[in-house]
């Protein structure tokens, strides 16, 4: 109830911002590109504010007024009382050691979970109707036999308040729009403002019936979600082409909407996403997700609930919008099904080849099978898609929280050293022996397996406590309205009220660790080129004085990404170990833990805490990203990379990320589009989950490093999202440059 009332208070007092010329209204902050902080989740110190203000990348200007309020009101009240304090206070010493060592990150230390997408039901339902549903749920409460009845009653009461709050918020906008319309001299803008006011009185109270209404309906919901808390991946309209198509078709057929008006509306809608940066991050959270983007990923294509091809006119129109707008947010992707026409893929390639970094390509059949395997019904599975970077979810019905990244290569580093972390000087892992103690490769792998299990246990224990913390202290009655089946269950989204509740731990560094294990097996156990004694010294010395050895490890050792079974075998080994440790373990919301494999930017952070490694990598350099090969080692072209990446069992994950860099030459004509389409479809026929293309010359990127002022519009694909090259840290910039360019020269 407290949270609902706080939500209501916020929406009642938030500054109403109507920007010049815009058609869709509602801002995260008092103005575009401004964002609130959430001290109840995570309290920034004055020093943090200073860092935010002055750091080079992903900075936020903090003015004096904010600093004063922080100093005089916020810090005194919240110090020691933020959710982060609560979380850290309830983690075990083992967890804290592992967290500090960089074994895993904790997603919920500065943000609320979120990780969900609006489904079809809410695009056809207003909040007045939801109030009726709430009432129905309340009437159905059984105070005689259900010992949860009172909790449910309280939750439903809170949800009801949230309904009224969002309707009130929309009306405040309507009032302001009427006021502005009154004052407006320009007749066409005057009409526009009046029309917008009318829309804001209709939605989100009632179901949208026009394109304008639907976009505004969604946007109010979006602002509601990101005002209530600061959930990961903001919020997301999901299968936007599916939702818009019926209202679009109706309006066009009745001649009520011109193409120009449609264009304007969609363009304005796009700008709304771009106006909101993700809330400011500090420390580890900043390193693992070093970007302004708040990860809204619009899905186009896929299949309908009945399994037939879902690509429609709106899919193509939205691709045009993406191409024309060319802004950082929202992200976009195409769901490629076996039934999708080639023409749809080609239209996406048109955009990809300009080097924009989106849309990325996802495999509908893989997504559906992943969801079915996890126990979703076929309709929910077909209505699903991928969000955030690459995470699979049943849109509208699932709470699929990411709980943190897991540093697989670092665990191997610990395994070689009896579980002791030299960097933090702590016993972080199990005492499973030293490298020289492993007489066979199998013994080493077994020790690694035990370490993974031990550290995953620590992470899962932490997750289950943290989930309960959110359930108890930070419920989200507004978000709960939007995701089935919270209302009938009378249960909050953060307490497991949704139909499906999943928790992911994201495995990082598959390419790197595969190369590391292969190198150990090849060089030490199979071919006796080096002994553990010299190897260990080499690693400790960061290869200084061991340049010949490093050369051997890099150039004369089999690598993942070249369709070499000997090397790729270790990817399978690691995958199965990781899968066994995580998959199916219960979470605290009545669901299960699952794995996926994406890094955002954590491969850079995780690299920075990991010393020199057996694949020839120097200390503190970035790790490989997603399931892509280590930077620069794939020398056999894209088909070999795809073959290697296909060997792990994607269908047992909740998403994998594969990045391929191409030069523009690969997109030069219709025929090359056919080849790339074949490449995508082949990967997907092998059950690959996702592939994205980064199209840009290494030359261009190097130039951009030297003259960032000339490349301010340069957007590249990072890891499941695009970002401005200039906003990336230098390490990440270099890492992207090093990612193999599939140009003619590199593998001809």
């Amino acid at each position: 109830m407290k949270r609902a009332k706080a939500f209501e208070y916020l929406l009642r007092n938030k500054k109403i911002c109507i920007n010049e010329g815009e058609l869709i209204v509602g801002e995260r902050g008092p103005a575009p590109k401004e964002t609130p902080t959430y001290p109840e989740i995570s309290l920034h110190s004055l020093q943090d504010l200073e860092i935010l203000n002055s750091r080079e990348k992903v900075y936020f200007k903090v003015d004096e007024e904010v600093k004063n309020i922080y100093e005089n009101e916020i810090i005194p009240y919240w110090k020691g009382k933020s959710n982060r304090d609560r979380i850290m206070g309830m983690m075990t010493p083992e967890w804290i050691r592992a967290y500090n060592a960089g074994i895993f990150t904790e997603f919920q230390e500065q943000r609320a979970p979120g990780h969900t997408v609006l489904g079809c039901r809410m695009f056809k339902t207003g909040f007045v109707k939801l109030k009726e549903e709430i009432q129905e749920s309340v009437s159905g409460l059984d105070f005689y036999y259900d010992n949860q009845a009172l909790e449910k009653f309280e939750e439903l009461k809170a949800m009801n308040i949230a309904c009224d709050a969002i309707i009130m918020f929309a009306n405040r906008h309507a009032d302001e729009l009427d006021r502005l319309s009154e004052k407006e001299k320009n007749p066409s803008r005057k009409r526009e403002l009046a029309a917008m006011a009318k829309v804001c009185r209709r939605v989100p109270a009632y179901a949208p019936e026009t394109v304008h209404e639907m976009l505004q309906h969604y946007w109010f919901i979006h602002v509601g979600v990101i005002s209530e808390l600061n959930p990961w991946d903001s919020f997301n309209p999901g299968r936007l082409d599916q939702h818009l198509y019926p209202v679009y078709k109706k309006e066009m057929e009745a001649d009520l909407l011109s193409t120009e008006e449609l264009d304007d509306l969609l363009g304005c809608f796009w700008v709304k996403f771009n106006n909101h940066p993700s809330p400011p991050k500090i420390g580890v959270t900043a390193s693992e997700s070093n970007t302004y983007t708040d990860f809204c990923l619009i899905n186009l294509g896929g299949v309908k609930p009945d399994g037939t091809d879902a690509v429609n006119d709106m899919s193509y129109i939205l691709l045009d919008v993406i191409k024309e707008m060319r802004i950082l947010q929202p992200g976009s992707m195409i769901q490629v099904s076996r039934k999708s026409p080639d023409r749809f893929i080609h239209k996406a390639l048109d955009i990809i080849k300009t080097g924009f970094g989106q849309p990325s390509c996802f495999n509908t059949e893989a997504i559906i099978q992943e969801l079915l395997r996890q126990g979703k019904n076929i309709t929910d599975a077909r209505n699903g898609g991928a969000s955030g970077c690459v995470e699979t979810g049943a849109f509208g019905t699932e709470a699929y929280w990411l709980s943190g990244y897991f540093n697989l290569p670092k665990v191997l580093e610990l395994t070689l050293n009896n579980g002791f972390d030299k960097r933090t000087n702590q016993q972080v892992g199990l005492k499973s022996g030293y490298a020289k103690d492993f007489g066979t490769f199998e013994e080493l792998v077994e020790a690694f397996r035990l370490q993974v299990k031990y550290l995953i246990d620590i992470k899962i224990r932490g997750n289950n406590v943290i989930e309960k913390i959110f359930a108890n202290w930070l419920p989200v009655p507004f978000l709960s309205l939007l995701v089935g089946d919270c209302i009938p269950n009378g249960k909050d989204y953060n307490a497991g009220g949704s139909r499906y509740n999943t928790t992911y731990i994201q495995g990082v560094g598959l390419g790197s660790i595969t190369d590391m294990l292969t190198s150990i097996r090849y060089n030490i156990y199979d071919n006796h080129k080096f002994s553990w004694a010299e190897f260990s010294i080499a690693l400790d010395s960061d290869y200084k004085g061991f340049e010949q050895m490093q050369y051997e490890l890099i150039y004369n050792t089999p690598k993942y990404g070249n369709d070499d079974d000997y090397a790729d075998q270790q990817a399978l080994t690691v995958f199965e170990i990781y899968y066994d440790a995580v998959n199916g373990r219960p979470n605290a919301r009545g669901g299960n833990h699952r794995i996926n494999m994406l890094p955002t930017t954590s491969h850079v952070y995780f690299g920075s805490v990991t010393g020199a490694t057996p694949d020839g990598r120097k200390a503190y350099k970035p790790l490989s990203e997603g399931i892509s090969p280590s930077q620069g080692v794939d020398k056999q072209g894209p088909t070999s990379v795809i073959k290697s990446a296909s060997k792990i069992d994607h269908l047992r994950t909740g998403g994998t990320l594969l990045n391929q860099k191409f030069t523009p030459q690969f997109f030069e004509d219709e025929e090359s589009y056919n080849h790339l389409t074949s490449l995508i479809r082949s990967y997907f026929s092998l059950d690959g989950h996702h592939i994205q293309f980064n199209v840009v010359n290494a030359e261009t990127l190097k130039e951009a490093q030297k003259h960032p002022e000339l490349y301010r519009d340069l957007i590249v694909r990072v890891a499941g999202y695009s970002d401005y090259f200039n906003d990336l840290g230098e390490d990440l910039q270099n890492e992207i440059i090093a990612r193999t360019e599939q140009g003619v020269s590199s593998w001809n």
């Binding site: 050369y551 369709d563 120097k618 088909t639 073959k643 056919n674 082949s682 026929s685 593998w747």
Partner: protein, 232 residues
């Protein structure tokens, strides 16, 4: 039976339709002045010094250019690329160097590829006996055929060999069934004058058959990086 191959290229998209695997066979009877694959000229294995860098340090090692492949190995490589070949309706291409220099091996491997259902292409200079071509024609779906210069004298001057049998074989192949795609390397000062281009055009038109599918002009710049232009 084994063939000497100096390079295997996957995701080969400029050597015939679809996604292909191209095997570059070592040895060539021509010595074109603009050749950008000089390692393909000698029919023997060769040693080269390969320099590689790790940070500021440079390392060298000797590498052998040219490796012997049995037919079985070729088929294994193709099988691993099946998902892409099937999806794109691609196939296998034998290029080089000049594949016809190892025509006995070429015949074996083409036969085996056809038995497995692969679309086959041979990228040739045309400089081999017509009997050799006749023996591989039944197992070749596509010829990628170089036409460099119509004047014999000029041809000898720039490639070291006569073009008489090249042009004869061209006509013969065009009438025999397989598809043909011509490639004309456009070398400034050699074959790019208006008069020659016009005669080329007339030659192509006069010899044309339904088998001729495409003509590629390859403008060669200094480094041999090629840009394909389609004109048909």
């Amino acid at each position: 039976m084994e063939g000497l191959i100096f390079s295997v290229k996957r995701y080969s998209v400029h050597d015939g339709p679809g996604i292909r695997v191209t095997f570059f066979m070592k040895g060539c009877p021509l010595s074109c002045r603009w050749c950008h694959n000089p390692e393909g000229i000698s029919p023997l294995e060769e040693e080269v010094i390969q320099k590689e860098r790790v940070g500021d340090n440079e390392f060298s090692r000797t590498e052998t250019v040219g490796k012997y492949y049995a037919v079985e190995e070729i088929l294994n490589i193709l099988e691993r690329e099946d998902p892409f070949i099937k999806e794109s309706k691609g196939g296998v291409t034998f290029s080089g160097g000049e594949p016809m220099l190892q025509n006995r091996f070429l015949l074996e491997v083409l036969k085996s590829c056809k038995l497995k259902g692969y679309n086959t292409a041979v990228d040739t200079s045309g400089y081999s006996s017509s009997d050799n071509y006749r023996s591989i024609i039944p197992f070749t779906d596509l010829f990628l055929y170089d036409i460099k210069h119509l004047d014999d004298t000029k041809h000898i001057e720039y490639t070291g060999v006569s073009n008489i049998r090249i042009l004869e074989n061209y006509r013969m192949i065009l009438a025999s069934g397989p598809d043909v795609m011509i490639r004309i390397p456009v070398i400034p000062g050699f074959n790019d004058d208006d008069d020659h281009l016009l005669r080329l055009k007339q030659f192509i038109i006069s010899t044309k058959s339904g088998a001729l599918k495409r003509i590629n002009l390859l403008p060669f710049h200094k480094i041999g990086s090629s840009k394909y232009k389609n004109f048909s």
